[in-house]
């Protein structure tokens, strides 16, 4: 047991921090510091900068452009990147599609898609959820029928994040409606979003932003060569993907960044004639978040350190469900803190007005943008397997009930 960072790990953190400071475009940083989500361009530009440095394809092997980092180094990078604050690597490309192709893809599929995914030349989205298949994903109905060397896909996906930005979508479809078990009739397809019959319809979300979509498939012809893994074995691919999705899911750096932003703002806002930061109730609330963030930080390092030791083999650590639940609870609690600090400044929706302003009021803007983040983070305990589903997983995996 050595519970300290090694000198190498500390030096690595310094290297990452310096690189981000020196290379993150200033306009991106300024936007994100105020609490705005990154724009599509922010995300693409930053991922390409990181990819040029060899830091985008985080857990991929070196021959496919990975940095060759340990899981601990990866975690350090993710924390620093979020704390900067900088746009996150596009998880659909990096933590979902990439590992799936590496595990199940053919050489041709890898060559065609991996380099473009790393460099964000292709923006991927995830076509899993359906109107009738949320937490109960295996009940999905979107159908794919074989027709020569194509599948013909019909159905509807929903909650498809960033589909409106996407060039490609990985989709779970039902290829055998008569399978004995629902999980056994599912296949995993890669669909070009420009294929005729694909329609994206926006869903405006609780923060008034456009992140989510419905995606409709009407007789969409997908070449059989775009299937990953064997026909009707798509559930294995999905399970593998969802297991991967959990590394780094706590997004602790984001929580830390939100607390920093709230504390900064608390210096500026009035509370009974004094800056809010001098209020003991506010301070205690920050202190409690510090406690919870620290516990999660250590738990997270326990998980990744075990992952390093197992060389990534073996089943997903059930502790990763703890990371998901506690991490998202913290994302919600920390973004809530920022909103509470903003007070009445949290209420306006300013986006358009701000764009037209000559003298932006940063305090108002941060209040408004932070609230958007808070509202959108209500989704954190819903996506990637709701926190209730995570507790079901823990119940089975750890408790054996």
């Amino acid at each position: 047991m050595d519970l300290r960072f090694t000198p190498e790990e500390r030096a690595f953190r310094e290297e990452v921090r310096t690189f981000i400071r020196e290379n993150l475009p200033a306009d991106t940083r300024d936007r994100m510091k105020l609490g705005h989500p990154p724009t599509k361009d922010d995300t693409v530009r930053w991922q390409r900068i990181l990819n040029a440095k060899g830091w985008a394809a985080l857990s991929w092997p070196k021959e496919w452009g990975g940095p060759g980092w340990s899981a601990i180094q990866k975690m350090i990078f993710l924390e620093e990147n979020l704390m900067a604050p900088a746009p996150e690597l596009l998880s659909f490309n990096i933590t979902m599609l990439g590992p799936v192709l590496l595990q199940f893809g053919t050489e041709e599929q890898k060559k065609r898609f991996l380099p473009r995914a790393a460099n964000l030349d292709d923006w991927w989205c995830q076509g899993f959820s359906e109107p009738g298949a949320g937490s109960d994903l295996a009940s999905l109905k979107t159908a794919a029928k074989l027709d020569g060397d194509h599948y013909v896909v019909n159905g509807q996906k929903i909650w498809t994040s960033t589909a409106h930005n996407a060039d490609w979508c990985f989709v779970l479809v039902r290829t055998d409606p008569n399978a004995r078990k629902r999980q056994e009739g599912i296949s995993f397809l890669l669909v070009d979003m420009k294929t005729p019959g694909v329609t994206v319809r926006p869903i405006i979300s609780i923060d008034a932003g456009h992140h989510l979509n419905e995606v409709f498939f009407d007789d969409v012809r997908v070449p059989v060569a775009m299937r990953i893994h064997a026909e009707n074995k798509g559930w294995d691919v999905a399970k593998y993907l969802l297991g991967n999705e959990r590394t780094g899911i706590a997004r602790l750096g984001k929580s830390r960044e939100r607390v920093t932003a709230a504390v900064e703002m608390a210096r500026e806002v009035n509370f009974g004639g004094k800056p809010l930061i001098e209020d003991q109730v506010f301070r205690q609330r920050v202190a409690q978040l510090q406690v919870d963030m620290k516990a999660l930080e250590i738990t997270q390092y326990r998980v990744v350190s075990a992952y390093d030791k197992a060389k990534g083999a073996g089943k997903p650590d059930p502790l990763s469900s703890v990371l998901k639940v506690k991490g998202t609870e913290l994302l919600q609690a920390t973004s809530e803190l920022a909103v509470d600090v903003a007070g009445p400044n949290a209420t306006p929706i300013w986006a358009r007005e701000l764009a037209a302003m000559n003298e932006p009021d940063e305090l108002m803007e941060a209040g408004s943008a932070g609230t958007g983040g808070y509202l959108m983070l209500r989704a954190a305990s819903i996506y990637g397997g709701t926190n209730e589903i995570q507790k079901n997983i823990l119940t089975k995996a750890v408790l054996g009930l």
């Binding site: 047991m1 050595d2 519970l3 300290r4 960072f5 090694t6 790990e9 601990i72 504390v263 930061i277 003991q280 301070r283 205690q284 920050v286 202190a287 409690q288 510090q290 406690v291 919870d292 620290k294 516990a295 999660l296 930080e297 250590i298 738990t299 390092y301 326990r302 350190s305 075990a306 030791k309 502790l319 703890v322 639940v325 506690k326 209730e388 995570q390 507790k391 079901n392 823990l394 119940t395 750890v398 408790l399 054996g400 009930l401």
Partner: protein
């Protein structure tokens, strides 16, 4: 970072667990509680034989040269069975005080005796008015010839009646709340003027209030520098926090295992209660609290040797608040999930609940440390 125990640590845990498996069934524990000492002298001898009493001491003092991690692992094993013996006051608290502040002669006189099981100690610092404030000391030590005379009182001193020697803090200078002017003394428990009022603590162990009137102490029994006791007391408190954090993890594991087992066997409405999702999710929450608590115990353990005072104090405060909250949540949930049987003296879960409650109050509860952390936000 590497969170796995070494092979030696694994062996240590195995051998301690095996010994406790032989000696510390819940029914056996009840027989120890009924002994005049309130614990088992025979088990204490087993601790000595296994080298546990000298675990953190240097080899030249009859110890095994173990570190905070070893102590944490042993305390975790102790927490699983609610060990009653005065290990914590003797080895962790007084042992740390002597280790940190003792002269070579004092170490030679004390540490090997602790290690072989012939010397038990207590740590008497807290006073009735002080609550958790380590600087709130009004017991006095007045210079008298070459030595000192102690007057005052100490409260809730764990296992004081069992102790042969007691580490006592007293003011040799300054006023109440002053950081300077506190001095530590090694006081013979049988010294004239030392009186104890013993009682049972909520965690089934014995404790006592100690009054000191005109207690003469020689100059050789000053532990550390005169007037510079506070930093030593802080180190003792930190070691105590790390050790009891480990103990809390063990207690949480035991409570969670008990509750899980109960949920599989207790049938209501025709099914084991563990088949109901509302119970399952509470169990999942309890597991998460246990693991977050374990992380905090690790944080405390990795912090106590950090030479940076401010960073160490900050991490300890985080850890102490977190482990206290985790222990409280698991305890309360464990009783709730057991229903009526959890309310009884006969059943084990309530004993774990009460030990966690007592630990939470050692050297400061979560509210105290949250306040400390809050005051540091600038």
């Amino acid at each position: 970072m590497d969170f796995d125990p070494s092979d030696d640590q694994r062996l240590l845990v195995e051998s301690v667990s095996r010994m406790l498996g032989d000696t510390y069934g819940f029914a056996q524990r009840k027989t120890y509680m009924a002994l005049p000492e309130g614990y088992s002298p025979a088990v204490w001898s087993r601790f000595a034989e296994q080298g546990l009493l000298g675990l953190p001491f240097a080899e030249e003092y009859g110890g095994f040269g173990g570190g905070a991690q070893d102590v944490m692992l042993v305390m975790q094993a102790f927490g699983r069975v609610l060990v009653l013996e005065p290990y914590f006051p003797t080895v962790v608290l007084a042992g740390t005080a002597v280790n940190v502040a003792g002269s070579a002669a004092q170490k030679r006189a004390i540490l090997p005796a602790i290690a072989e099981g012939s010397l038990k100690m207590a740590f008497a610092h807290t006073e009735r008015q002080a609550r958790y404030d380590l600087t709130d000391v009004v017991t006095t030590a007045t210079k008298s010839g070459a030595g000192w005379v102690l007057d005052g009182s100490k409260t809730v001193v764990s296992h004081a009646e069992a102790a042969d020697k007691i580490v006592v803090s007293a003011r040799t200078g300054g006023d109440r709340y002053d950081e300077d002017g506190i001095t530590l003394f090694l006081v013979d428990a049988k010294a004239p003027g030392v009186a104890m009022r013993g009682y049972l603590s909520r965690d089934d162990t014995r404790a006592a209030d100690i009054s000191l009137s005109n207690v003469a102490v020689g100059s050789a029994d000053v532990l550390g520098e005169v007037g510079r006791g506070l930093p030593v007391i802080q180190r003792v408190a930190e070691a105590g926090i790390a050790a009891t954090a480990g103990e809390t993890v063990g207690a949480m594991e035991a409570m969670n295992e008990m509750t899980l087992e109960y949920s599989k066997t207790r049938v209501q409405f025709g099914n084991p209660i563990g088949s109901y999702q509302v119970v399952q999710h509470r169990l999942a929450d309890m597991f998460m609290a246990q693991e977050q608590g374990r992380s905090m115990a690790m944080l405390a353990t990795m912090s106590i040797d950090n030479p940076d005072d401010a960073a160490r104090a900050h991490d300890i405060a985080l850890a102490k608040a977190g482990i206290g909250q985790a222990g409280r949540y698991v305890s309360q949930s464990a009783v709730q999930m057991h229903g009526g049987i959890g309310m009884t003296e006969e059943y084990a879960v309530g004993h774990y609940f009460r030990r966690c409650m007592v630990i939470e109050r050692l050297f400061g509860d979560p509210a105290y440390y949250l306040n400390k952390l809050a005051n540091q936000i600038a």
